[in-house]
């Protein structure tokens, strides 16, 4: 038995548009990963508690309400506070181009905007996963 990559897919904030999150959860499952899907209306606190209990390698956040500049960095911050800063955070949703730099500097390692092919997400996971020769 070998080590499996585990990924939490969560929707922080108040919008209920979970089509994208569900799509990515399914696509990552089909790519052979173990995906923990937590559903809509999660707080940064519940997302981080889940990530730690589930011992995930990645947290993928999906948001369409516009609150990404507050909620995404908050998840990264809480992970660090709880000694889990090694968990890699990425995001997706309708995120304007001018916010990308801000999110990157706040620890969101990748942002996948509408129209991104799933192969880009998989390539990102494979190149950043633990044990991958940097």
């Amino acid at each position: 038995m070998s080590e499996k990559i585990r990924i939490e897919i969560a929707k922080p904030g108040l919008d209920g548009h979970d089509r994208g999150a569900k799509y990515i959860a399914r696509a990552l499952k089909d790519a052979g990963y173990e995906v923990i899907y937590t559903g809509i209306r999660q707080t940064p606190e519940s997302i981080v508690a889940t990530a730690i209990q589930e011992d995930v390698d990645f947290v993928g956040l999906s948001l369409l309400s516009g609150a990404h500049n507050e909620l995404f960095p908050r998840v990264v911050e809480l992970l660090k506070e709880q000694d889990a800063g090694d968990i890699i955070v990425f995001g997706g949703g309708v995120i304007p181009e001018e916010d990308l730099d801000f999110l990157k500097t706040h620890g969101i390692q990748a942002i996948f905007r509408p129209g991104t092919p799933i192969s880009d997400v998989i390539a990102f996971i494979e190149s950043t996963r633990k044990g991958h020769a940097a």
Binding site: M1, S2, E3, K4, A25, R26, L28, K29, D30, A31, G32, Y33, E34, V35, I36, Y37, T38, G39, Q42, T43, E45, S46, A49, T50, I52, Q53, E54, D55, Q82, D83, A84
Partner: protein, 317 residues
């Protein structure tokens, strides 16, 4: 091991890491489980099983709340299937329990079956031990949605709840062997739906036949509706009383010894298999042997018996 100290102190990250170790079958696993051995045996282990969509996760969610109200620390292990094609899994059980995510007295862990048959995963039993040693009072294990023969849950739980819902077939389905025989408690969930009373009557009938044949007292049948939140109190009281009764009358230790026997057999079997594989270079030789059997040069049973006899002789020297 520092990890062991942290687990015993109930530190979340350590417990989560440890579950990954048993799940991945890493080489630290055996030392870890042995180090925790003396600290296990305190938690009550409740199994929840039943067909897909019966409401197992939602019911688990309700029971977490009841146990929290009673001041208990609760761990949940929710098993979902891995794809036999890609090895991937979509673990969605905790979605129904997410209100408890930030409660420090609740730990929810999803596990993928990773090719293991039987309704749980190969690491589930060891994961139970980790939560037990970490000080959780109650451990709820939810199986994958099962069909008729995935009954391994009986081997790791003190009490098994079989959750059924109306509209899944006539009483002949209920009379078949396997899953219908393993419940210590039968739960008719979604009791707000049509046919719930009939289902209850059918289960009663099947259990009555069983009681008449082997004299076992009939398990309880409870009606619940997670939607209306009815029957949950009764179910919770029933489970608590049943657990106490089994502690008192010795049934609990009988059951736990059975579990140890099964586990011991499994570990022996696995280790013997590994040994044979190594000593006889099974995978390297098998294609030659297959060819010989196919060409009728050797016969299966005599060949295998001779090979093993030879192996035994060479080991005695």
């Amino acid at each position: 091991m520092e990890l062991v100290t942290d687990i015993l102190a109930g530190k979340t990250r350590a417990v989560a890491r440890a579950v990954s170790i048993v799940e991945n079958n890493s080489h630290d696993k055996e030392a870890l489980i042995d180090a925790l051995h003396d600290y296990t045996g305190h938690a009550a282990v409740w199994g929840i099983t039943g067909p897909p969509g019966a409401g197992k996760s939602t019911l688990a969610d309700c029971l977490i709340q009841k146990e929290r109200d009673a001041g208990k620390k609760v761990a949940v292990i929710a098993v979902d299937p891995s794809s036999p094609f890609t090895g991937g899994a979509l673990l969605g059980d905790r979605l129904r329990m997410q209100t408890h995510a930030v409660d420090p007295g609740v730990f929810i862990r999803s596990m993928a079956s990773r090719g293991h048959l039987g309704g749980i995963s190969a690491g589930t039993l060891d994961a139970v031990k980790i939560f037990d040693a970490a000080g959780f009072d109650t451990i709820i294990v939810e199986t994958i949605g099962v069909g008729q023969t995935e009954i391994e849950i009986i081997e790791l739980s003190d009490i098994v709840m079989l959750v059924l819902v109306p509209g899944m077939g006539d009483e002949i389905q209920a009379m078949k062997a396997g899953i219908m025989e393993i419940g210590d408690v039968y739960v008719v969930n979604k009791s707000d739906k049509d046919g719930a009373q009939r289902l209850k009557a059918e289960i009663e009938y099947v259990l009555m036949l069983k009681e008449q044949t082997n004299g076992d007292p009939s398990p309880g049948i409870l009606m619940t509706s997670s939607r209306d939140n009815t029957g949950i109190d009764e179910l919770h009281i029933h489970l608590t009383q049943l657990y106490h009764e089994r502690t008192r009358n010795g049934m609990l230790s009988v059951r736990r010894k059975k579990r140890i026997k099964k586990e011991m057999d499994d570990i022996f079997n696995r280790k013997v298999q590994d040994l044979i594989e190594k000593e006889l270079s099974l995978s390297a030789n098998s294609s030659t042997w297959i060819e010989k059997v196919y060409r009728k040069e050797i016969k299966l049973y005599s060949f295998i018996n001779n090979t093993l006899a030879e192996f035994e002789r060479s080991n005695k020297k």
